[in-house]
Amino acid sequence: MLRVIVNRIGSIAVVMLLVALMVFSLIHMAPGDPAAIIAGDNATSEQIASIRDRLGLGNPLPLQFLNWIFAASRGDLGVSIFSGVPVFGLICERLEPTLSLTLITIVIALMIAVTAGVLAAANAGSWIDRAVMALSILGFSAPIFVVGYVLIYVFAIQLKWLPVQGYASLSAGILDWLRHLVLPALSLGLAYVALIARITRTAMLDVLAEDYIRTAKAKGVSPDGILIKHALRNAGIPIVTVVGIGVALLIGGVVITESVFNIPGVGRLVVDAISKRDYPIIQGVTLVFSGVYVLINLMVDLSYGLIDPRIGRR
């Protein structure tokens, strides 16, 4: 097991290096120039060139990459071209809203999706099953921003139950924190719920067709006991896998959700940075997001051994 962990951590380093190279290359291949944006609308070509030189953007790209990756390996993600603030500090400052939104979304989504998936499997072919499947198709199909605007219109503008936008820190009170997160979490979580519900249903149906389930039924185990104790635990691996994979969906969704609901999180930070070509922020945030995604998938892999002890013994 230890060897597996060491191997995986080694592969993470390689993956992160490749991610860094891709992020850097893509950003610099994309059209745009922070110097032109800094110089303003009325700048001359000479003024833009002078700013480029000052920012070091005229250096050869391989040299820029090596400088950046060397600094990043020491934890230095550089400073924002525009504000001069260290990127690491900016990310830390924006972490709380993003983590709050993501965690609330995962909790809500897991509660709804696993319950719906188990119910659909237990009642396969019934109206419950069809309703869950229909709703999951809807959840997958509706873009986050459309869901967001509809929720804002209904619950914030018409009913006035919840705020339109913004974020309240947890330290300012849990109720206010929750009120600001309900609508964004629902918007962000809809596709995630749909994904997990469908996988849960499929995995449960597979397990429910196994011989040991029939044996459990023959031994007189209650239907709830069969579903929860025998079927759900054995269906756990595909569910946990899709939860891990779905984090990528969430990371992409966070960027949109934070913009729609004006949440000052890491997603908004990177969107703003892209619009003004603030390379250090874009590179830093993408690297951090990639690292989080890789780590979560490592945790998912390691969790297999806990769910199924046979995997841990191999």
């Binding site: 994309a30 059209p31 745009g32 120039d33 032109a36 944006i37 800094i38 609308d41 009325n42 700048a43 001359t44 070509s45 833009i48 002078s50 700013i51 600094a71 934890g75 230095d76 993600l77 400073v79 525009f82 001069g84 260290p86 690491f88 900016l90 830390c92 400052e93 924006r94 972490l95 709380e96 809203p97 983590l99 709050s100 965690l103 605007y149 804002i152 914030a156 503008i157 006035k160 705020p163 339109v164 936008q165 913004g166 974020y167 309240a168 820190s169 947890l170 330290s171 300012a172 206010d176 729609v260 004006n262 949440i263 000052p264 908004r268 930070l269 703003d272 619009s275 003004k276 070509r277």
Partner: protein
């Protein structure tokens, strides 16, 4: 710089328990419904705090809160003293003497001195085009005492006070300490003598920017007019929220979560006007001039006939209607110095009276020797007006027999590519559209696009010696009527060599809650002094 262990632990703590010691709170509920706090969504994120380092309009509005100016422009665009109490001009008209008002203080308590003013002026003049022009005629700026300083000219310059008081890229007075910063570097501290104080601790970069009332500010006496007169801070706090999503900003305004929205999209104006809790108003009455720049360095627009052809390609009404719909927000214009301005004139506008004529345009392109090569139009897809302009232009050019090709990107992509002087097939371009505040456009020297000095000048790089000589003459003219005559002469020449193509003039209303009042009508910036909530 490497991340210290302490910083890492701070970050980890935020990640682990979500209990930051400083609340990150944005939104109505978290900021409270204090009548003394006004929450505003501005046109863009405040990317830089230094109004010398960047020409961004949003930084100008930031500076208007924090800093003050020596002179301002009143509603008739006439310069009036602001931080200056008295001023005089020597008989030879070469020495201006300025005396500062008594009791002016920076928000850190230190007095505003002549040395601060001179240092601020020199830093600003190193970057600002109008400042550079002024300082080409300046011999010295001696400090006489703490409250008195001079501008000594080498030659007569008729625009000294107008330049010191202009509202775009204004001369903001900073402490000498900041004003001695290299003008190509950003200042590190934001301390001004304006009506509000920037609250860095409460600010979250990219999210909210907070300004508190400057209790030590002493407003000038007299009714406010333009950027002159009394600037009274009537609010305890102003919070700028960076809210890039237009739909969300509209919803937040209607729900009362924000008080002011600088750039509501035109398509939402009817919706806002039907809401009794919201008012809309055009603050910048002169608005903006839309125009197209042609690349003079490469065919076909290195040929005057091809540029002339473009005058017959454009239909301003169609462009403006497509972008704004409602006619009360736009007008057509044929003046090279904007319409409704002091310099507006109608010399040599036969092309405008003739109107769009694609056949004539095709004939002129042929006369120019156009060989069917691709003509690259930069198309910023994230800016509605410019996106529409580019698409209409491409269609009209095709009808005139030109092989027009759209190069789509966001505005960030356009500003980078338009600076490229290489041929279009090597990453350059032929045409791009943009706009500029009319108040700046009105001046042959304040608007960089009015330079025709070739590759050293503004993008598009037009070149015309007669025009440049007239610009210099304009700066020396001492009266408005003299300047107006020169402007006529310039336009008569201008529409012959075609430095740019006008696409129309438009205004953009702001929207605010009905309980907010006191906004002043000023071009180029949004002033929050005199604004109050009832």
């Amino acid at each position: 710089m490497s991340a210290s262990r302490r910083r890492f632990l701070q970050c980890a703590a935020a990640a682990g328990v979500l209990l930051s010691s400083r609340p990150v709170s944005v939104g109505a509920q978290s900021l409270g419904r204090n009548r003394g706090t006004l929450k505003a969504v501005m046109q863009a994120d405040l990317r830089s705090f230094d109004p010398v380092w960047t020409t961004a309009t949003i930084t100008g509005s930031h500076a208007a809160l924090v800093y003050d100016t020596l002179f301002g422009l009143d509603e008739q665009l006439a310069p009036q003293p602001q931080m200056v109490s008295r001023y005089g001009l020597s008989d030879d008209k070469l020495t201006y003497t300025f005396e500062l008002r008594d009791g002016l203080r920076f928000s850190d308590g230190s007095p505003v001195t002549s040395a601060d003013c001179v240092a601020s002026m020199r830093r600003w003049a190193a970057r600002d085009l109008a400042g550079q022009l002024l300082f080409q005629s300046v011999a010295d700026t001696p400090v006489k005492d703490d409250r008195t300083f001079q501008i000594v000219l080498r030659e007569r310059y008729g625009l000294v006070l107008d330049t010191l008081g202009k509202t775009s890229n204004s001369l903001w007075i900073m402490r000498r300490k900041e004003a001695e910063t290299d003008p190509t570097q950003q200042i590190s501290e934001i301390v001004g003598s304006g009506p509000y104080v920037f609250n860095r601790n409460a600010t979250k970069m990219g999210a909210i920017y907070v300004y508190d009332r400057n209790d030590s500010y002493r407003p000038r006496e007299g009714a406010p007019s333009g950027t002159t007169g009394a600037k009274v801070a009537k609010l305890d706090r102003i919070v700028w929220e960076n809210m890039p999503d237009e739909q969300t900003a509209i919803a937040a305004l209607q729900a009362g979560e924000i008080d002011f929205y600088e750039t509501p999209p035109i398509e939402f104006i009817d919706q806002l006007e039907s809401d009794h809790g919201v008012k809309t108003e055009v603050l910048n009455k002169l608005g903006n001039v839309g125009f197209i720049r042609l690349n003079w360095l490469h065919p076909p627009f290195n040929n005057q006939k091809a540029r002339e052809a473009m005058l017959y390609v454009i239909n301003q009404t169609d462009i403006m209607k497509a972008a704004f719909g409602n006619e009360k927000y736009f007008r057509t214009c044929n003046s090279l110095f904007g319409c409704g301005t002091n310099m507006e004139n109608h010399e040599n506008v036969g092309w405008f009276d003739h109107g769009q004529d694609l056949k004539k345009a095709a004939a002129l392109f042929k006369e120019a020797g156009y060989d069917g090569r691709p003509v690259v139009i930069l198309q910023p897809t994230n800016l509605a007006l410019l996106n529409t302009t580019a698409q209409l232009l491409a269609e009209w050019l095709k009808q005139a027999g030109v092989n027009a090709q759209l190069a789509a990107s966001d505005w960030g992509g356009v500003v980078a590519r338009r600076a490229v002087q290489a041929p279009p097939e090597q990453g350059g371009w032929n045409i791009f559209a943009t706009w500029n505040p009319t108040s700046t456009f009105a001046s042959p020297v304040s608007f960089p696009g009015h330079a025709a000095n070739g590759t050293k000048g503004f993008i598009g790089w037009p070149e015309n010696a007669e025009w440049e000589a007239a610009r210099r003459e304009w700066t020396r003219a001492e009266t408005l009527s003299e300047r107006q005559e020169i402007a006529k002469k310039m336009q008569a020449n201008g529409w012959n060599f075609v430095p740019e193509i006008l696409t129309g003039q438009f205004v953009a209303p702001v929207a605010y809650r009905a309980n907010v009042r006191g906004f002043l009508s000023i071009s180029d910036l949004i002033p929050f002094w005199n604004v109050e909530k009832t």
